[in-house]
């Protein structure tokens, strides 16, 4: 008995249907949670920096980070191999050894050459973007926010399809730190873009304190500038901007983005949670 013409098509059709179902199922699956640390104004080489880094390493070991963001002043005192070793590679060696990538932004104490240092993942650029899971990160150089950079950011935000958009850079648009305070020039240029394109969170440093600012026009702002440096008592206690603040010890942040929720914690040098909360997208 001769087989019917086209019998070979049946298994091929079955396989195609199965493949399509797999693809559809994968597309419907939520993106995996993204967990990352944020540090700022950390590159001092002091015992306090090392202690903060040890706390981070301990927490990372229990619940791994996907990456760490830096909000500038990564290396104080000049760009030398000794400074890089003492103020970055040694304090964070546990994280680096675990393969946690750092994504840096430049502070006013940073050398422009840091953009070429491979562990900072800046790929030779003062400002850049990258995507992890369903989060797009935008690193800016707030020391020199020139027209080309502003235009780059506008275009990058407009092109972004990620559900979460997070910006990080050194100078805070909103800050109750009394040493520096809010960077009004930058706010004039950047805030309209953040609002227009739905940036949910912005991390900065420069003031050596921790502060969670009350949401401004729908955007959450954090000052995370005490991961090595500290100006004890520098937060304006009467500021109407502050939702939560901590200026008594060094601190860093941990963030976990899972679906539509961003959980955050600010953790002190002594491993105490000094602030926590969630942002719903």
């Amino acid at each position: 008995m001769r087989p019917r013409p086209g019998w070979r098509l049946v298994p091929a059709l079955l396989l195609s249907v199965v493949a399509l179902l797999c693809v559809a199922r994968a597309a419907a699956l939520p993106a995996p949670p993204l967990r990352f640390g944020v540090i700022g104004d950390f590159g001092t080489g002091t015992p306090q920096q090392y202690e903060v880094a040890r706390v981070m390493a301990g927490r990372q070991a229990r619940s791994p980070y996907d990456l760490v963001l830096t909000v500038g002043d990564n290396i104080y005192g000049g760009w030398t191999s000794r400074a890089v070793s003492e103020r970055f590679e040694l304090p964070y060696r546990a994280l680096l050894a675990a393969g946690v990538p750092f994504f840096a932004s430049l502070g006013n104490h940073d050398a422009v050459q840091e953009r070429d240092y491979p562990p900072f993942n800046m790929r030779g650029s003062r400002y850049y973007r990258f995507v992890r899971s369903d989060v797009e990160f935008f690193a800016l150089d707030s020391n020199y926010l020139d027209p080309p950079q502003v235009e780059w950011l506008r275009q990058a935000l407009a092109a972004s399809v990620s559900p979460w958009k997070i910006a990080f850079f050194h100078h805070p648009l909103y800050s109750s730190g009394q040493r520096h305070g809010s960077a009004v020039d930058l706010r004039t240029l950047l805030e309209p873009l953040f609002v227009e394109f739905g940036v949910q969170a912005v991390f900065s440093g420069h003031d050596h304190v921790y502060e969670r600012v009350k949401p401004q026009r729908g955007v959450a702002y954090f000052v995370c500038g005490s991961s090595g440096q500290l100006r004890r008592g520098n937060l304006d206690q009467h500021s109407a901007l502050t939702a939560a603040g901590f200026d008594q010890d060094e601190a860093f942040m941990e963030i976990e983005i899972d679906g539509d929720l961003m959980h955050f914690e600010a953790i002190s040098r002594t491993d105490a949670v000094v602030d926590s909360g969630a942002i719903h997208r």
């Binding site: 030779g124 020199y144 027209p147 520096h180 020039d185 004039t188």
Partner: protein, 191 residues
């Protein structure tokens, strides 16, 4: 004039210029010195960029420009080459008088429009140092943050150059070689 004298003049007219071709040239890299001969500020900036590019091309051998830019030794060699090529550079060679005056006015207007704490914050960041054109930016000094709204008012620069404050001056800084390319002294005096 006798024919012999004319012939002598013709021979000399050939030999003298010819000697400059025959005589051995120096082994030193000869590049045109970047002296402004006119044109606009943008044109003088472009001339500096061209000089820089020519020197960089000469130094780069078999490596990509991205790799070269990331190489600290290359950056230093390029800085030395630029300094040699611009050995007699003076303040104003690139800015020029008109542009310098315009920039100084823009800076003073910008500073005058800032309130006390904001102005204090801008100025507190500016390092105190001697400013010498064609010298290196002081290594231990941080780069002062440039007010973003002021940058919006200044002529855009190519990627390798930035406006920065140093002492009471506004400088043109080559950010990859750390060279002070030009300076307008005194723009922050009285701020």
């Amino acid at each position: 004039m006798s024919n012999n004298r004319i012939r002598l003049l013709v021979v000399l007219g050939v030999l003298v210029p010819g000697a400059t071709v025959i005589l051995p040239t120096s082994d030193r890299l000869t590049v045109p010195v970047a002296r402004p001969t006119g044109g606009s500020f943008e044109e003088r900036v472009a001339r500096y960029s061209r000089l820089r590019r020519d020197l960089a091309d000469h130094l780069q051998t078999g490596v990509s420009s991205a790799e070269a830019a990331a190489d600290e030794r290359f950056r230093y060699q390029l800085a030395v080459a630029i300094r040699n090529a611009r050995h007699d550079a003076r303040p104003g060679d690139i800015f020029g008088l008109d542009t310098a005056a315009g920039i100084a006015l823009a800076v003073r207007s910008d500073m005058a429009a800032r309130d006390g704490p904001d102005l204090e914050d801008v100025l507190a960041d500016v390092p105190v140092s001697n400013v010498r054109v064609n010298d290196f930016y002081p290594q231990q000094a941080p780069l002062a943050t440039m007010p973003a709204l002021l940058l919006m008012k200044l002529v855009p620069l190519p990627a390798e150059l930035q406006y920065r404050f140093l002492d009471d001056a506004l400088i043109l800084l080559d950010i990859e070689t750390d060279l002070i390319v030009d300076a307008i002294p005194g723009v922050l005096k009285g701020s």
